[in-house]
């Protein structure tokens, strides 16, 4: 069966959990920016957790169903409607053949995940269906969905409607948002004062934030320790001899605006990275609206690993809640 795109919304892409293993070749890990919500949407409709879904940002699509299906919308509070009738988020509901799924204005968060029973069945590319628009890989012709697309859906009976994930197991950032940061290898390049300011200041999400990276502004400019730039590094003190970037790493070009690299990020370059947002908080970044006030909070490796374990336990509780 297929689902027809009547209106694609702003930027709606097919995403699964991504294609790890090729970052060293410059192909990003990709996949949903809020993976917890993506997994939850799939579980609600009876799909494997890693099935492909639609990730929609800020404004939902309009989708017409060719056959009956079970659907769930998780992540951002983007209220779904079926032929105009309001449905609950984080709850499985039925869409009948010929009906249209639409969305109200976004209320909270940034990205909603739309899972359809059977999962989206576009071809795998390097082991994943995730769309990487900059590299034109995955999804439908490597691009966001467009008007008239017939999105292929796999076979799947679908779970029964009404299954819901309790409020206590849903996650969206607070206001101000708090992102935990593990200082890294290049922390030594900035002055002590700059390091203190980074954690003291309240930053705001820049509107240009996207799947590659999320920029923050509004904090004080960083100062760097005196050093002679090494051979091969650019002349700005924020330049290094090219190095690898990790998912979550924070680069600060010119010492001005921190950018947290996300799922579709570039894999290396010549800006220093002062540390990384811990893996447990990366999903929250996918839910930040433009202008959201944000604080960075310093943690050590032990705290980062504890947070990661907590996150794994949360996934376990979501699975249990749906059994």
């Amino acid at each position: 069966m297929t689902v027809k795109v009547l209106n694609p919304g702003l930027f709606t892409t097919i995403q699964d959990l991504g294609r790890p293993g090729y970052f060293h070749l410059g192909i990003p890990i990709g996949g949903g920016m809020d993976r917890l919500s993506l997994r939850a949407a799939n579980l609600l409709v009876g799909n494997p957790e890693d099935a492909a879904v639609l990730e929609t940002v800020f404004m939902g699509p309009q989708l017409e169903f060719e056959q009956d299906a079970t659907v769930a919308v998780t992540g951002a509070d983007l209220p779904p409607r079926v032929d105009g009738e309001a449905k609950e988020s984080w709850t499985a509901f039925k869409v009948k053949a010929g009906q249209t799924l639409t969305f109200d204005y976004l209320k909270e968060g940034a990205r909603a995940y739309i899972a359809i029973s059977g999962g989206i069945d576009t071809p795998l590319y390097l082991g994943s269906r995730s769309t990487y628009p900059i590299g034109a890989l995955g999804g439908i012709d490597g691009r966001p969905v467009a008007i008239g697309d017939q999105i292929p859906i796999g076979e799947g009976a679908g779970a029964k409607e009404g299954r819901s994930i309790p409020d206590a197991l849903r996650r969206l950032p607070g206001n101000p948002a708090e992102l935990r940061v593990l200082p890294g290898l290049y922390w030594r390049l900035i002055t002590e004062e700059a390091g203190r300011n980074f954690f003291e200041d309240t930053w705001a999400v820049a509107p240009e934030a996207d799947r590659m990276g999320v920029r923050f502004r509004g904090g004080r400019e960083m100062t760097f320790k005196e050093r002679e730039q090494p051979f091969g590094a650019g002349s700005d003190p924020s330049n290094i001899v090219d190095g690898c970037y990790s998912y979550g790493s924070i680069q600060v070009p010119g010492g001005k605006e921190p950018i947290v690299l996300h799922r579709d990020a570039v894999s290396g370059g010549g800006y220093f990275t002062l540390g990384a947002v811990i893996s447990a908080d990366m999903d929250l970044i996918g839910q930040l609206q433009p202008h959201t006030p944000t604080r960075f909070v310093a943690v050590d490796m032990e705290q980062a690993l504890a947070a990661r374990a907590e996150r794994a336990a949360l996934r376990g509780r979501i699975r249990e809640a749906l059994q």
């Binding site: 702003l10 209320k107 609206q289 433009p290």
Partner: protein, 78 residues
């Protein structure tokens, strides 16, 4: 009274570019589908169009100010 709402969150602009006049000013008439402003988000500028016809009574968001999805940017008299 009718309202024009932003479809998305971002930064609101009243002009197509800094050198050009505003899309609409107070007292201007608006037809269905007329552009009254732009919202910048994810390196794109999305047009904010009126879904109703009327006359602009007032803008409720200043140029270059943040908006949320569904926020009223202008009020119209029928």
């Amino acid at each position: 009274m009718a309202e024009v709402k932003s479809p998305i969150p971002g930064t609101f602009y009243r002009r197509p570019s800094p050198e050009e006049p505003p899309f609409k000013s107070e007292g201007d008439s608006v037809a269905v589908g007329d552009v009254v402003g732009l919202v910048e988000v994810m390196k794109s500028f999305i047009e904010v169009k009126s879904e109703v016809a009327g006359t602009i009574k007032s803008f409720t968001v200043e140029n270059e100010q943040p908006v949320t999805a569904g926020a009223v940017v202008a009020e119209l008299d029928d």
